[in-house]
């Protein structure tokens, strides 16, 4: 399948997460308007960073004078997940020029990566993830705009209840992983257990992520060594 066809497939199969991204985008637009960010600044932020979790993290510190160091650190910490998404795609972006890979990695996105693992082998993964990313970006920009323009409609509503929407969407992706995996899900189960233990011990979020990922990595290595004898 050509890169173009794979990109179109990515766009066509992105409907599910287009909608959930749309909800977050509207919430981001509302939150950005509520703390006084100008509309075009919020749109520029959505277009250039394209990260729901990172943008919401930045909003928490958005007051004069802007604490640039704190914003940078918090955006980095919530974006560390991207490092792992990029690593997961290492063997799947072959056959493209280095320049294309560097440019198109801008659109790397969680649901695109998760769903790319479920596609037939002949699908071009870089094209697929990029097509998926184009769709997510469209959803993200349109919904940010709508959120900015409709803030007054939501002023009376308590949107705190939908804070948990992020974990819900993440759970859908995790289920796709669980059901699509060809190897036992032991690394993910142990990662969750370690995350829970570290959370109970009162560890910081980045330590929970580090401990959890390290556990998953070691477990996966043990699995691989066992498989290769």
């Amino acid at each position: 399948m050509t890169t173009w066809d794979s990109a179109l497939l990515g766009i066509r199969t992105s409907g599910d997460y287009f909608l959930s991204t749309f909800i977050f985008g509207v919430m981001f637009g509302i939150a950005a308007a509520a703390i006084g960010i100008e509309g075009w600044h919020a749109m520029l932020m959505s277009a250039s960073t394209f990260t729901a979790s990172g943008q919401f993290a930045a909003l928490e510190f958005w007051q004069a004078p802007l604490p640039l160091g704190t914003i940078a650190l918090s955006v980095f910490l919530v974006s560390t997940r991207n490092l792992l998404l990029g690593m997961a795609m290492t063997h799947h972006f072959d056959g493209h020029s280095l320049r294309r890979r560097i440019v198109w990695l801008f659109l790397l996105n969680d649901p695109g990566v998760v769903n790319s693992f479920r596609q037939e082998p002949e699908v071009d993964r870089l094209g697929y993830v990029t097509g998926y990313g184009v769709s997510m970006m469209t959803s993200w920009l349109c919904s940010t705009f709508i959120g900015l323009k409709t803030t007054h409609l939501f002023a009376a509503l308590d949107l705190g209840a939908v804070d948990f929407a992020g974990p819900l969407v993440m759970a859908t992706m995790m289920m796709l992983f669980f059901k699509g995996s060809k190897s036992p899900p032991t690394p993910w189960i142990l990662s969750g257990v370690v995350a829970l233990i570290l959370f109970e011990l009162g560890s910081a979020n980045y330590l929970i992520l580090l401990g959890s990922v390290a556990t998953g990595m070691v477990t996966a290595i043990v699995q691989v060594r066992h498989a290769y004898g």
Binding site: L66, L84, T90, T172, F177, Y228
Partner: protein
């Protein structure tokens, strides 16, 4: 009120950081790809990151949030339908809180 120039600097900084995290992981992977069996290990990593976020979120969730999560997992298990799973989960969050969570 944050001045426009600082806002633009902050946005540029955020964009750069996020883009670098997307690119760096891929290039770290390229340095490791010659190791036998590494593909399975690398492909397991995003799921581990999801679990690191999900497990604590469920642990500290309210009853309505746990019920919403259970609905999502169940629907995904049975149907793989993200739209229905997310919609039902969101509906439980929005309308179930007043019934399920103690005031």
């Amino acid at each position: 009120m944050v001045d426009p120039q600082t806002t633009l600097i902050a946005i540029a900084m955020m964009a750069l950081i996020v883009y670098l995290t997307r690119m760096t992981g891929y290039f770290i992977g390229l340095q490791l790809r010659h190791i036998r069996g590494i593909q399975t290990v690398l492909e397991a990593l995003p799921g581990c990151a999801f679990m690191a976020i999900l497990a604590p979120a469920i642990r500290q969730g309210s009853l309505s949030e746990i019920v919403a999560m259970a609905c999502v997992i169940l629907i995904m298990w049975r149907s793989n339908n993200v739209v229905i799973a997310t919609s039902v989960g969101m509906a439980v969050l929005l309308f179930g809180g007043s019934y399920l969570d103690p005031i």
